[in-house]
Each structure stands twice: as C-alpha cells, then as structure tokens.
Symmetry: none
Subunit: 205 residues, 4 copies
Amino acid sequence: MTRADLAEKREEILQTIRDAAIAEFAAHGFHGASTQGIAQRAGITKNRLHYYITSKDALYAEALRHIVALQEQQFHGIDMTQPPEPFLRDYIGRKLRHVLAYPDTARMFTAEIMRGAPVLRTFWHESRDATMRAAQVIEGWVRNGLIRPVDPVLLQIHIWALTQQHALHGAETAFMLGLPGPEALDPDRLAEEIAALVLTGLRPA
Amino acid sequence: MTRADLAEKREEILQTIRDAAIAEFAAHGFHGASTQGIAQRAGITKNRLHYYITSKDALYAEALRHIVALQEQQFHGIDMTQPPEPFLRDYIGRKLRHVLAYPDTARMFTAEIMRGAPVLRTFWHESRDATMRAAQVIEGWVRNGLIRPVDPVLLQIHIWALTQQHALHGAETAFMLGLPGPEALDPDRLAEEIAALVLTGLRPA
Amino acid sequence: MTRADLAEKREEILQTIRDAAIAEFAAHGFHGASTQGIAQRAGITKNRLHYYITSKDALYAEALRHIVALQEQQFHGIDMTQPPEPFLRDYIGRKLRHVLAYPDTARMFTAEIMRGAPVLRTFWHESRDATMRAAQVIEGWVRNGLIRPVDPVLLQIHIWALTQQHALHGAETAFMLGLPGPEALDPDRLAEEIAALVLTGLRPA
Amino acid sequence: MTRADLAEKREEILQTIRDAAIAEFAAHGFHGASTQGIAQRAGITKNRLHYYITSKDALYAEALRHIVALQEQQFHGIDMTQPPEPFLRDYIGRKLRHVLAYPDTARMFTAEIMRGAPVLRTFWHESRDATMRAAQVIEGWVRNGLIRPVDPVLLQIHIWALTQQHALHGAETAFMLGLPGPEALDPDRLAEEIAALVLTGLRPA
DNA sequence: GATGAATGAGGGTTCATTCAT
DNA sequence: TATGAATGAACCCTCATTCAT
C-alpha cells in the first residue's frame, strides 16, 4: 500500500470516527458520551479508537470545530444583494436541508450550548460578526420598505429556531404528522411552510 | 415535630432534589448527569440523596413527568374560543414566560428528545391528543377565513420552536443582543416580537 | 460503634494505607507504584483503597510529608550544646536506628530525589535552614579546636550518606557480611563502626 | 554502505538506546520507566526502539550488566600493593569521578537494589568475591599497623556510600552548598573531603 | 432518619508488544 | 530496515448503589 493510500485510509477512518462521535455526543452530551459508545457506532474497538484520537476532549473539540465549519460553508456563495423573498427562501431552504441531512450536528451543537458552551465560547465572536453583518442587510430592507420593521437580530435567531427545530425534534414532528419516522419528513414541504410563515410575517403593513 | 410537619419537610426536600436533578439533567443529559452532581446542587450528600430517591432512573422519570405536568398546567383555563389574535398572544406570552422562568425544564426536555426520547415516548400520546385538539381549533380559524391556510400541526410546532429557543439558547441570544446575560432578556419584548411574526405571518391574503 | 471509634478505625486504616504506600513507592518509585500494589500490601481491595484516598498523587505527597515530619521529629530534644563526641554518637545512633526501623521511608525519600524531587522541592528550604544551623555549631567546634577543619555542610551530608546506606542497601550489606537478611544487621555494631570512622576522622591533627 | 558500516551504525544506536534506558530507569525505576520515555530520550520512535530491542526486560537486564561491567572496569590496573593512603586516594578519586560523570548508572543501580534486586541478585556473587579479596588487603593493613582495626567489609561499604551519595543526591548537595546545579560540584574538592575523612578516620591510635 | 463504609462495573487512557507492509 | 496500525492488559479513578449502624 502506498503512502498516499495509507493517508487516505487514515483520513477515511478519522471521518468515520468523527461522525460516530457527533452522533454519540448529540445523543448524550459530552459527559454522557462514552468512548466505548463512539467506538461501537464507528464499528471499531475502543482500543482502536484510542489509537486514532488523542483524547475524548480533543475529539469533542474537533467535532465541534467541524460542525461550525460546516455551518459556515453552507452559506458560501449566497447572494446577499438579492431582495428579501428569494434570499430568505434560499437561506431557509439551504439551512433546513442541511439540518435534516445532518441532524446530529445540530443536536451536538445545542447540547454544547445547553451545558454552558464551555468549548464553543471560543468561536462565538466569529458567529457574532456574521450575525451583525446580516443584521445590516436586514436593516437595509426595512429602510427601503421591503419588509416591516423588525429586530434584525431576533429575526435571524427565530429563523434559526424554526429550522433547527426539525433537526432536534424530527422524531416528534414525524410522530405528530403521523409519519413513520423523521426520515419521512419532506424537506421541501417544511421549507415552504417556514418560508411562508416568515415571508408573510415580514410583509409591510 | 408532628407527623404532618415531617411529611411537609420531606416534601420540601424532595422538591429541592427534583429541581437540582432537572438542572443537572438539563446540563449533562441522563448519562452525563451524576447523582453526585445532583446532590451537590441540592446541597446534600450523595448518601442522603440516595436515601430519598430509589434510583437515578426513577428520579429522571419523575422529573420528566413533573416537567410534562407543568407544561400542561400552564394552559389550564386558557380560553380556546377566543379569536386567533388574543388567543395566540396569550398562548405565546404564557409559554415564553414559563420557559424563561424555568429554562432547565425546557433543556432537560430537549435533551431527552435528542437521545431518542426513550422515557418520554410513553407520554407522547397524551401530547399528541392535545396537539390534535388544538389543530381542530386552528382549522376552524382557517375555515372561517380568520387566518390564511396553514398546516395546523406545523404551526404549533413552529410556535413551540420560537419560544423554546429562548430557553435553550438564552445565553447566546443575550450575547448577540449585547446584553450581560440571559437573565437580562426582556420577556415582554421577546413575546411581542414572536407574536408579531406569527400574527402577521398568519394574516389572510 | 461510637463516632470516636469510627474515627479511630479510620485513622488506623489510613495509617495502614500510608505504610503500604511508602513500601510500594520505595520499591517502584512514583510512576512504577500501582494503587493495585498498594492495596495488596495494605490487605484491602483497590476499590476500598480509592475510597480512602483522593488520588495517587495526594497519597504520595502525604506520605512524603509524613516521612519528612518523622525525620524532623527524630531529633527533637537533642542537645546541640554537647561536645562533638557525645553529640555525634547520639546523632548517628538515632539516625541509624530510625533508618533501620523504617528503611522504606529512606528508600522512598531517595527515589523521590532520584527523579528530580518534583514534590520534595517544596520542603527543601526548611531542610536547608536546619543544615545551616547545624553548620554553625560545627564551625564553632572547629574554631574551638575540638575537631579538625572540615566543610560543615559536607560533613553532615557524609554522615547522612553513611547511615542512609544501610537503609537503602541493607540486603546487600547483610549478604556481604554473611548474614541471612537485613533484619539480622546489628544497629549497635553499625552505629559504632560509623561513629568510630567519623570521630576518628574528625580528630584534630 | 558496507556491511561493517552498517554494523557500526547499529552499534551506535544500540548505545544511544542503552544510555537513554539508563536515564529513564534511573529516574523512574523498572516499572515506572516506559519504552515511550526511553524512545524519546534516544530521539527515536517507540516503534523503532522495539525494532532494536527484544523487550523492556531484556533492555533492563542488559543495561544493568553494562553498569556492573563499567564498575569493574573502573578499577582495572589499580595497584593493590600500594600503601593505604595512595591506594585509597586513588580509589576514592576514581570512584567519585566515575559516579559524577555517570550519575544515572549509580541511580539505576540503587533503584534496582531498592526494589529487592531481582535482576542484580544474579551478579552478586562476583561482587562479593571482589569485596572479599579487597577485605584481605585491608586486613593486611590492620595487621601491619598501617591503619586502626576496622571491619574490612563495612569500610568498603562506607566508602562506597560516601561516593555514591554525590551521584544520587547531587542536586541536593549543590543546593545546600549554594551552587546553581549538580554539574557545578567540584569532583576534586569532594574527593579531597571524603579522602580526608576516611584517611584520618583510619589513622591508628 | 441519616451517615460513613464498601463494592462491582465501567469510565478514559497508557502500556508493551505484535502485525503488516 | 523501518514505520504505521492494531491490540489486550493494565493503569487510575468515578460511578450508582447497597450495607451497616
């Protein structure tokens, strides 16, 4: 096996481990997660897991960084100069599809915040900057009469809540809608329902 | 001390324990929570804690039942025959105030769902019944042209998400708004912002 | 069992543990010692050991403090105004008897120094003070012509080495002398031999 | 690279490993030493280390054999027919210089004895033979009135203790003397001080 | 009712070593 | 020869729980 093949294989297993870790951390939080459990989800032994990671703490931090990176990536190339309607449809659609595709990332994220965000705290400032930039765009819409006056920060938080909800509580939603499971949820329908609520909700008087 | 006094004192300490348990379970989930941690939050020793509870499992289940009961209690006496606007303002206000007053109940609830709701699953049918009853009211509004056509289940879920958000992520919201901490959040302002979004968002075309 | 009895029993077992720890640390050093091994020497299970101690580190530090306290205690009430001969006979006798009675304390002490004294370092200043005080007494002897000129610090170190030797290497000494084991060493004979060497070695020209 | 070069390079790395092993075993004893630590000190990976050695046990035994060989080597060619004074000055000087140059060999040796000398025990008989031969020389001195009557075995042990001391506890000695570190110790001064004590201490009445 | 003692199971991690290439 | 991968044993320690008083 060439050196490149080895590196590739290594990268592969590291990804498997990270995904398993995110699932375990999402389900049980940092303290509740066990390396045993992570190993099981990754289909390897605990010993082998510990060969690839340096510690539970480091694995947690890396998974979190990965999640934050994914969240940012998700909006690369989005056109912030569009009018509110296409922009918000685009935004909500992307966000919801991402969150339904990787619900565990959303869960782990929320779990981290619920315990006081001791690790995430380091990354917050970046997130705040992005929120502030978006707030200026929204304020522009208000000034131009494209939407009714709203708090531009709370609006973002509320849209985030509406999409995040379906990642955290997908099973419950599916149950309430009479569906067999969360994988039966129709992203397009959910996106449409949320977009309708938000867009109508922003319509100027 | 009379027998009644003893019983009262016992009741008191059991409540202290339950509150401590909710806080601990909220922060670390079921597996991550430790009876040690719960005892500490309750200001008693681990030994004494185990004298009052039968097991961690039982304490968890009881705390969860308590949370569900609180959620139901909260809407006792709400007038479901009101028109949409006053009803929803009332509903959102109650829900948000409750959730901001006891954010740990919301967090523990979400943590339970994130791990697959193994315990909560038993109670879901009741919750579903309530949702279905409310759905009929909402469908009545739609039929009468009081609000635009919406999915009556998703609407409830979305309102729930908007309020729940501020319990789970109060610290983040406060940070983004430039406030010193989650306790500085103004429930009235948040309720107004959410109500405005929802009510406007439901306005018939 | 009364509260006092309990406390007494606790004290007893803590002493047993400390002695076992000193023996294990003496034999294998800090890193090489295992709590398993300590428990075995104390005649208890590892779990029970960990009920009584907070950590291996803390146990190590406490054992070391105990050893240093013992060393100091040993010279309480010694009369430093005596002439050299009785004083040194007294000193060497005490030191040697102590060291032969508790050879493991001497071994653990030396093991700590051999790894760089990371824990002991904190106590050194006190030890240095005592050495300096004794040095002044010795210099007085030299000034008064009671002994030949010597380095007062090195003299102390050398006497220390001569006594310490029989604790560290008692087994070897016994073997060389044709004795069955280190417990067969005669403290009086060893003390006499050392005292003779030192006292003769200090005789003024 | 010729076969001889390869063999030479191999010999070189084996020496590096042995020195690293001695340092690690000296600091932490057999159980406390880690092959990881040895590899680090040798500047190679753990994997590579294990390629060159067969096991930790074997490496330990070989290092110990090396130390014993060094100790013997050290007195090759010493003239045992000299009178006591030049002989002992020569002996003490050699021993002290060796021990200060390679303090880790002395430490590892002592650590092995402190744990009961399970490996060294095999070599003891040789060491005993040498001691007995030297004892006969010393007894000759006593018979001829060159020195006062002493136990010829204990005398050797005590001289050994005085020199060994500065290897084991060099740091402490330096500290007490107000020096920056053990490397600042002056071998000649120490040798003179020890020789003076011993030679004076052996002067016939 | 309440508290110290004790314990079996499992936590994360390191270890010396072997395997595969 | 040399290096990444892998592993079983053992490491220290914490856990929820039970026992004894």
